[in-house]
């Protein structure tokens, strides 16, 4: 694999065409879908941060008088079987999704980076052992592994993050390993070696920064699948426990029985999940187009 010159790729994407705000405007014009994705992501992050301000009701407050109320001026997206405001729960649910998404991507990414660097730089038996571990982790579908892990660890926010992070490790480790193998042979690493730089310093100061671009591309893609997996786990009742308003759990509570009577309980949380994931996917796609020319169509 040949190393990619990211400066050239960024310039081709329009990053260096102009300066200041016009630069971003120019890039946004060239990558419309990616910009839409970024806007969606920003909206979700803002919703999560300012959930307390935006939400009109306490997402956990039970109000049996107004149970299963249809969407109205008071309850924008209706209420659930316990009379909890769906809009407020979705806004607060953004926190859970974001926490799990970012948490598991960061955790899985960090473990993957360490394994990938060690495996690619040290080679030999370290590589052999890590490769077998990666093989093992890759032999199970993401959801199956995450399901067994949450079952083993017990349902809690931290455990769901861990359960989703571990299945994300292999792809990060593989990308970092492949990049490290290619970078290891380049003159600048040889030079660093020649002046007696420690291996740790070479790996973390010189090799790691050069693998950041593919890492960011991969992490964005994984953010989407982490959010989806959390929703699936919670939907199955094995993810985030009550009373946290997780989008997946909102759908599991409402599932088939409310399909007839309270469709808003099915429609809105699903839109929230889909939009959040769609946004990250759009943004991730644009990033990949810019940073990974091998994949460019």
């Amino acid at each position: 694999m040949s190393a990619i010159n990211y400066d050239v790729e960024l310039r081709r994407a329009g990053a260096h065409a102009t300066r200041g705000w016009r630069k971003y405007k120019y890039m946004a014009g060239r990558h419309v879908l990616g910009t839409i994705g970024l806007v969606i992501m920003v909206i979700f992050v803002l919703a999560a941060i300012f959930a307390n301000v935006i939400a009109r009701f306490d997402p956990l407050e039970v109000d049996s008088v107004h149970a299963l109320a249809a969407p109205s001026a008071k309850y924008w997206l209706g209420t659930d079987a316990f009379g909890r405001d769906v809009f407020s729960r979705i806004i607060h649910g953004a926190r859970i999704s974001l926490a799990v998404g970012l948490g598991s991507t960061a955790l899985g990414g960090s473990i993957g980076v360490v394994i990938g660097l060690a495996s690619g730089y040290l080679s030999g038996w370290v590589d052999l052992i890590f490769q077998r571990i990666i093989d093992i982790l890759q032999a199970l579908p993401l959801l199956v592994l995450a399901l067994v892990m949450t079952a083993a660890l017990g349902p809690s926010l931290e455990n769901v993050i861990i359960a989703i992070a571990i299945p994300l490790v292999p792809s990060v480790a593989r990308v970092i390993r492949a990049n490290t193998l290619a970078l290891r042979e380049l003159p600048f690493v040889e030079a660093a070696n020649a002046i007696g730089m420690s291996e740790m310093r070479i790996v973390f100061r010189h090799i790691l920064p050069n693998t950041l671009a593919p890492l960011i591309v991969l992490a964005t893609a994984q953010l989407g699948s982490a959010i989806l997996t959390e929703a699936s786990l919670s939907f199955l009742g094995l993810g985030i426990p009550e009373p946290y308003p997780s989008w997946g759990r909102m759908l599991s509570e409402s599932a088939a029985e409310y399909v007839r009577t309270a469709p808003w309980l099915v429609i809105f949380p699903g839109i929230a999940i889909s939009l959040a994931v769609f946004g990250t996917n759009l943004f991730g796609d644009a990033l990949r187009d810019i940073l990974d020319p091998r994949q460019r169509g």
Binding site: L33, R132, I133, D135, I136, Q138, A139, L140, P141, L142, L143, V144, L147, V148, M149, A151, A152, G154, G224, L228, A231, S232, F235, L236, G237, L238, G248, L251, A255, A256, V259, R260, P263, V266, I267, G270, I273, S274, L275, V277, F278, N281, L282, D285, Q295, G297
Partner: protein, 315 residues
């Protein structure tokens, strides 16, 4: 080639062994086993009864002994007994496999039938408005949770027909069979179709840039011949890979889809068994999933050599 196959098979065995150890340990670090759950539900019970039951299920032995017992049985085709139904695990698992296999097969057919043509179209019209729309649709396919798609389909069917497709083991009519299998298959296959479409598009774009495509055009081959006989045929490899991997990984998507549509396949069975801490079922089902994935990977690699004569596994 033979040496490569032997080495691959050896690695497959190592992977399966690793999975078996990890799953076995994971399931047993959970505080509380099935006996605790059963007895908690029953209220106060004589502790000696509890100890008896634990002995009967072999839960009083050390974890290593339990593991060896399981693997030993597995090699003889004895998967142990379900804690919940007390029937042999094999008898519980086997009848559910065809249901899931049918769904997965239909979903794959659906994803290939939709994904490949649309991917080709998207590549041929690269940069056009149609390409943009198709790309957005395929991205949305990767973004919609399949259980939500399933719920939406149920909702649509309720509002249109006043009823929803309910699984029966013996469908009365062809239409009913279509409803109970094809509808869930489409719900789960939408994602795979989107994936296949993206891979087809990028693979086609890659191939269309090659010199031999220009040569084919230059010698006067028609557009159809160039696009399908030269381009698509050579671009099939990544598509086959994705279809092969998806075939194995569909179990993940089917877990939620079978739950939504109430279909008694192995994917939903896995969730039920996890809820009940029914270890013999969970560990055997997970091993089964891993076996399918490992075999699918192997088959895809072998197909590579068939489809691309330049690939020779000889070292």
């Amino acid at each position: 080639m033979l040496g490569y196959i032997v080495r691959r098979l050896a690695l497959m065995l190592i992977t399966l062994f690793g999975i078996s150890v990890i799953i076995f340990v994971l399931l047993r670090i959970v505080p509380g086993n099935i006996v605790d759950i059963l007895f908690d539900a029953a209220g106060f019970v004589d502790p000696s009864d509890k100890a008896n039951l634990e002995r009967e299920l072999g839960l009083d032995q050390s974890i290593v002994v339990q593991y060896l017992h399981w693997i030993g049985g597995l090699l003889h085709g004895d998967l142990g007994y379900s804690y919940v139904s007390e029937k042999p695990a094999l008898d519980e698992i086997l009848p559910r496999i065809p249901i899931t296999a049918r769904l997965a097969g239909l979903a794959l057919m659906f994803s290939a039938a939709i994904g490949i043509p649309l991917g080709v179209l998207s590549a041929l019209k690269q940069g056009s408005r149609l390409d943009y729309i198709l790309r957005a649709v395929s991205l949305s396919g990767l973004s919609l949770p399949s259980f939500w798609l399933g719920l939406l389909i149920l909702m649509a069917s309720v509002s249109m027909f006043g009823t929803m497709p309910i699984y029966t083991p013996n469908p009365q009519s062809f239409g009913q069979a279509v409803a109970i299998y094809c509808v869930p298959a489409m719900a789960v296959g939408f994602r795979s179709a989107a994936l296949v479409m993206r891979i087809t598009r990028s693979s086609m774009l890659e191939v269309l840039r090659q010199d031999y495509i220009r040569t084919a055009r230059a010698k006067g081959a028609s557009e159809t011949t160039v696009n399908f006989r030269h381009a698509l045929k050579n671009g099939m490899l990544p598509i086959i890979t994705v279809l092969g991997i998806e075939a194995a990984f569909l179990v993940g998507g089917l877990i939620v889809t079978e739950t939504v549509f109430n279909i008694p396949g192995i994917a939903r069975f896995l969730v039920e068994a996890i809820r009940w801490r029914d270890y013999p079922i969970v560990q055997n089902l997970v091993m089964f999933c891993a076996l399918i994935v490992v075999l699918a990977n192997f088959t895809v690699d072998m197909l590579y050599a068939v489809f691309d004569p330049r690939i020779r596994y000889n070292d």
